[in-house]
Symmetry: C2
Subunit: 79 residues, 2 copies
């Protein structure tokens, strides 16, 4: 079973990496970009076969390791 976790900075938290990418895109002539945010995508290959059990476990992984929940939000997708 495959789990896709997207980790991204919360609204209002400054994103310097996104700002840098935005600046670089503008320098290259891509002028119709209004905003850029950069996050992480973590793809986990699990041995679990039960979808809801897998989701609960991945949620625990996010809370303990994958995301810094003070400044980051995350979404979990089980495929």
């Amino acid at each position: 079973m495959k789990a896709i976790v997207n980790v991204f900075l919360k609204e209002g938290v400054l994103d310097p990496q996104g700002k840098a990418v935005h600046h670089a895109l503008t320098s290259l002539g891509f002028n119709d970009v209004k905003d850029v945010r950069v996050g992480k995508q973590i793809i986990l290959e699990l041995t679990a076969t039960d979808k809801s059990k897998a989701e609960a476990e991945v949620r625990e992984m996010c809370e303990t390791l994958l995301a810094n929940t003070v400044i980051e939000d995350y979404t979990i997708e089980i495929a």
Copy 2:
């Protein structure tokens, strides 16, 4: 218009960040993780209103800046 770009290492390319996360998860007792891959998710806010034009532009951004196409693949999602 919003574009979501996922950039991830090609199959077969070593992913040390993923390996480190996998190791950390195992140390924390998450033993049913088989593999971890870590990629980037870039969310672009565009002023363009035409979907196919926006996608073509984002593809060009990926080819020139957002992805290193020698070792990385990417997907584009226009929302």
